[in-house]
Symmetry: C2
Subunit: 362 residues, 2 copies
Amino acid sequence: MDIDEQLASWFRLTLTPGLGPASVRRLLRQFGLPERVLAAKRGELARQLDADTLRALDSAEVGRAVDEALRWVDAPDHFVVTLADERYPKLLLETEDPPPLLYCQGRLELLERPAIAIVGSRNATASGAQNAESFAKAFSSAGITIVSGLALGIDAAAHRGGLAGAASTIAVLGTGIDVLYPTRNADLAREIAERGLLVSEFALGTRALGGNFPRRNQLISGLSRGCLVVEAALASGSLITARAALEQGREVFAIPGSIHSPLAKGCHALIKAGAKLVETADDVLAELPGLRESGRAPAEQAPAAPSRVEPLLAEMGFDPIDVDTLCRRVGLRAEEVSGALLRLELEGLVCTLPGGRYQRLK
Amino acid sequence: MDIDEQLASWFRLTLTPGLGPASVRRLLRQFGLPERVLAAKRGELARQLDADTLRALDSAEVGRAVDEALRWVDAPDHFVVTLADERYPKLLLETEDPPPLLYCQGRLELLERPAIAIVGSRNATASGAQNAESFAKAFSSAGITIVSGLALGIDAAAHRGGLAGAASTIAVLGTGIDVLYPTRNADLAREIAERGLLVSEFALGTRALGGNFPRRNQLISGLSRGCLVVEAALASGSLITARAALEQGREVFAIPGSIHSPLAKGCHALIKAGAKLVETADDVLAELPGLRESGRAPAEQAPAAPSRVEPLLAEMGFDPIDVDTLCRRVGLRAEEVSGALLRLELEGLVCTLPGGRYQRLK
């Protein structure tokens, strides 16, 4: 099976209405790579999927969406990175709910750079936007890529600051990667597509839907080592991103402001809840040891997850084993081991057993 | 010996050049009340004091200062509260370095009210002064007295806010209580003397000396359950007060501001170091449980230190005992026990033994 057929299988799974990211990952865990899911007897799949979803899986309509996606990825600087891809970001793989695939446009290598998320209000004050831009520029100049959501206000300023430094910026979209939203940031998006990276987990043509933005926010923090909130009202999307970051074990930073400014209240709430108050980019970098160094000398980075796979397999043996035991044996954190196990499952090297245990197959 | 003679002895000890607060307390621990110190053989005192100090102790010059102090305290609303006085603030007694006596002018009962310190920059911004005043007014209206240092800027605003509520304000002076400093706050000082309370540990006539202000700051926090810093530059007196508050086990609170404001930097440094970021008076009160209640219903307060003296004596027995053992027996904190022991010593009921142990005498 050639690479296009493999990719077509990934597209078919993820573009089938009724199959969300969690369902896709469940099927992958059970059957292996997407082509094996699609090759499975429909009777077997019927135990996992309802009739409508099963019908959609083989429908001509999904077939047309797959063809469109294949045409899109064929263009220069367009990429699709799947869970089974070596280029899939390691940090993201360690999160609870990694997207099965990412549509990317621009400098794909930015996915492997150390990154910090900068988020905040769409209705930023001039001073807030200036802070976002200058922190972003300082990080980017220190070799750290800026991740944000391409929204107006703080996001846009953060992207501009990222573009001004060497490590550039990643814009994570809540729409299909071919949908420009908001239109006022169209020029910025084009510039990021050229000198940075656009990323979306949503199907081509997906319009701006409120329900998709929490997943967009989770992806922003999932790609980042830490998350800086510059200005945010209480009950704002930025706080959702910050909460996602906390749940993903990321450091959260917040810039304080006047107690009379509504846009400082979100930041103050975060600080009260344990986020670090920061006044300078150095304050942030001081809390993320190793980030600056890895940004400056990517060639000297510690070996990442893939090279840990072999020792993990060796330590597993061929007896059923649970994650905790495996963590103790290899001295890695549960998220790291789970991420590596997912990759091994996708490669057909291990399978899941009832009770959350794993079995080495090869 | 009548009460004036007793007070004259306190004055003579504390007004003798060369006898600082720590030396005075050491003499009290060794000999008992001041009249016993003064009644001691000079040869015996010579083992503790150098020749100059010993000469000064009996000098006519100190005698004149004592007479002046006795005349001062004779005026209406003038008070002197000594370490042996039941009215000496319990919280202050628990600190490392309580002043042997306090000169007070105004509503002495405020010394027994629950209190919060509010301090900050002399060069406050208009917004900072407004914050100080409105937090102070909210506390005072909740029955909590405002303690500050009668300086320009934040201090003055805090006092004004305190005067606007029911629980009023205490101004702690870094000068003699009869010295008006700074003169621009003369009207405010007069108002506090009438409707609040002026407090100083320094001798009458003591001018504004830089070296005295750290002790003034320590007294501010020593009288208070918590300390709120409103605006402060880095390396400012307010941070010294905050540090004193932390060392005395008080909660420290700070109001954040713009990262570009020099007067927010001190507050941000405190928050980074663990102080609580607060946006409203309620944020502060939420961290000091019981404070509001004790402010509202002083009659229903839990019994304070004096009533704990009897069980402490009972638990001591007549064998030498150290503070840690005593703490375990009576279930009180070391500062509480030390404070109570000091009072018992002054009353001649216990004495200190070498090695930090205590012996019950009666």
